[in-house]
């Protein structure tokens, strides 16, 4: 509570020193060796995954060295190389609950240490507060004396017990992280409150979409009817129940309306029931899980993009929809109001009634024809969010972070105890001590000079890396463990 008030009182403060007040030219060409850590990466598909991938690609373009560490997916374990020598470590860690590894703060240390040492990592960048591996990585990186950055992709409430616990954990794991990146201002407020952070070390860098992937194509539309596209995982948080209310309402009123729903999930049952009950099999098409490459083909078939999420940090889906030239109708929750200017999006309250009204106004506008053409919408959206821009801003964060000192163990313990409350603080400082001892043991067992320095496959000195990557990436399954 007290902490939270502190976070609150931080708000009315004079604008702080900006990131790049003392960033001079010689720092612009400082090249970092970054390790992105998250449980969520390809082959798993989603917002976090594509964020990590695109960001890494742009950073590699700017000449940094990037490797990604995630857990093994099925038989995809070991080391793989993606485009431009982006190196991915699929570490064999036990997956506990929907693609998130079990966290014990210890068992992942040997492997992560090996990765950090052999890749000569300078900055550890962890993603997504749902990923236990990311938190472990933050912890271990601090133990090994590396600077850390954390990107939070999700919002959390404060109401129930589970969120209280998770927020406590987040407080602990972020308490000595050098910098935190949030994807929207709402998300920043949320994270500052949850982890009781100083808002100055929290930057807001929105997600981006690749505008070339999402280009409009009006010819694909069937203008004899009006198509509403919904693309999201069919889960409660995405407001599928609202959708199940909207469908019969609107289909009853407008006979020329049809829905195109892409995505898979437990709530699919609900939609199917609605479809059966109202005999809408020809007007409501459930496409099931979509590959990322198919999303655009689905989007361009529609006139309106509907997003019924109940909570969103930064809704990439609506940006994609708008980029394909659709009129976006969305709920006014989370960071969504910040994402698109009002002429591109129609915001409604998260209720069936309000959403139906919003949709009907849009439908009416479409019928009368006073709507912006897809091309114009696309032109407006195209320049808003680009990965290159995201990479530049993230680079600034790195530049700032790599200047900061790393706390020695004693200060770290003190900070833990002072920052995270007596109980959790002392528990986790104990854990930190244990981890430190464990690290010492590992260093005795396998000293750093025995770990071969990896050949750079990206970054400044990466020619041989490309060579090796060209060769090794042929191997079907490099893991022998």
């Amino acid at each position: 509570m007290g902490n939270r008030r502190r976070g609150h009182t931080h708000a009315p403060k004079t604008p702080p020193l900006s990131l790049d007040t003392h960033s001079s030219d010689h720092e612009q060409d400082v090249k970092h060796r970054i390790c992105m850590v998250s449980d969520f990466f390809y082959p798993n598909m989603g917002g976090v995954e594509s964020h990590i991938y695109q960001l890494s690609q742009c950073l590699i373009e700017k000449g940094h060295k990037v490797v990604i560490a995630t857990h093994a997916y099925g038989d995809r374990r070991g080391i793989r190389y993606l485009t431009n020598g982006l190196k991915v470590y699929y570490l064999p860690l036990q997956v506990m609950y929907n693609q998130s590894t079990a966290t014990t703060c210890f068992h992942s240390l040997p492997l992560l240490r090996c990765v950090f040492v052999r890749e000569r990592i300078t900055i550890v960048h962890a993603h997504s507060s749902f990923s236990a591996m990311a938190h472990d990585a933050l912890f271990h990186a601090k133990t090994m004396g590396l600077n850390t950055v954390f990107t939070d992709h999700s919002l959390f409430g404060f109401a129930d017990l589970s969120s209280v616990l998770t927020n406590k954990l987040l407080t602990v794991s972020l308490c000595d992280t050098n910098h935190i990146v949030c994807v929207s201002y709402t998300s920043k407020e949320n994270t500052v409150l949850r982890a009781t952070l100083d808002p100055e070390i929290v930057s807001v860098i929105p997600n981006a979409v690749d505008p070339t992937d999402f280009t409009p194509d009006p010819s694909r539309r069937d203008n004899s009817k009006i198509t509403i596209v919904v693309i999201s995982r069919l889960v409660y948080r995405k407001g599928i129940d609202l959708l199940s209310g909207i469908i019969p309402e609107l289909c009853g009123k407008h006979p020329d309306l049809c829905f195109l729903i892409g995505g898979e999930g437990p709530k699919r049952i609900v939609l199917e029931e609605v479809r059966e009950k109202y005999q809408l099999h020809d007007r409501v098409r459930l496409l099931g899980a979509l590959d990322h490459k198919d999303v655009r083909d689905v989007l361009v078939q529609g006139h309106v993009f509907l997003n019924t999420s109940l909570t969103e940090a930064f809704c990439m889906a609506i940006v994609e929809g708008a980029s394909c030239g659709l009129h976006v109708v969305s709920t006014r929750v989370g960071g969504i109001p910040e994402v698109l200017p009002d002429e591109l999006v129609t915001l409604c309250e998260p209720s069936v009634q309000s959403l139906c009204d919003g949709l009907e106004t849009v439908i009416a506008r479409i019928r009368t024809g006073n709507v912006a053409s897809p091309a114009t919408i696309h032109r407006k959206v195209r320049t808003l969010y680009t990965w290159r821009n995201v990479a530049e801003r993230t680079e600034k964060v790195y530049n700032r972070v790599c200047r900061e000192p790393v706390l020695p163990l004693s200060d770290r313990l003190h900070r833990l105890r002072s920052h995270c409350g007596a109980v959790a603080g002392s528990i986790f400082s104990f854990v930190a001590v244990i981890t430190f001892l464990f690290l010492l043991f590992l260093q005795w067992l396998r000293p750093d000079h025995l770990i071969d320095v990896a050949v750079d496959s990206s970054g400044p000195h990466s020619r041989l890396g490309q060579h090796v990557s060209k060769k090794t990436s042929k191997t079907p399954n490099p893991a022998v463990s």
């Binding site: 470590y89 052999r118 025995l450 090794t472 191997t475 490099p478 022998v480």
Partner: protein, 181 residues
Amino acid sequence: MAEEEFTDINGNSISLDCQTHSAFCREFTVTAPKLSLRKVMVCTCFIWLFAYAIFFLTENTAVLSSAIILTLAGMMIHIHFVKVDHETLLIIGSLGIQLSSSYASGRESTTFIEMSKLKDIVINEAVYMHSIIYYLCILIKDPAEPETVASVVPLFQSSKPRLNCLVQVYRSCQEILAETR
């Protein structure tokens, strides 16, 4: 050929012996350190003391004899199946590659891979136990469609040399492959 000082991934020193029979026939021999007598002694003594303790408690001489037999059999099995003395990679241009590993007991197991089956020799990374290591491996073509890799044969599996050693072997193998393709 010049012998440098190499170590395996655990820091034990190994020796790489590379002799050139002709321009397109080379033989690399990685020799692991010999079975250290001290270690053998220690473990034998340990087992026997343990056995003697049991014997002391239960006045049963079968324990002692079984312990002796156990140690002997264990040593036999170890030197015959586990302990590899040296591994050899014989590459003959346009004919094939022959891997042989000879155990401490002198047993030798050899496999020969023809050039037509072989796709390439690469240095690869893998997660091994709780660390990530480099290893040299042969890619075997899939006979049906030659562009894909059917299987991977790792080299120097028992004595795991470090990268510098692997790179040396890799380079000269690539030379031969290049000139006899």
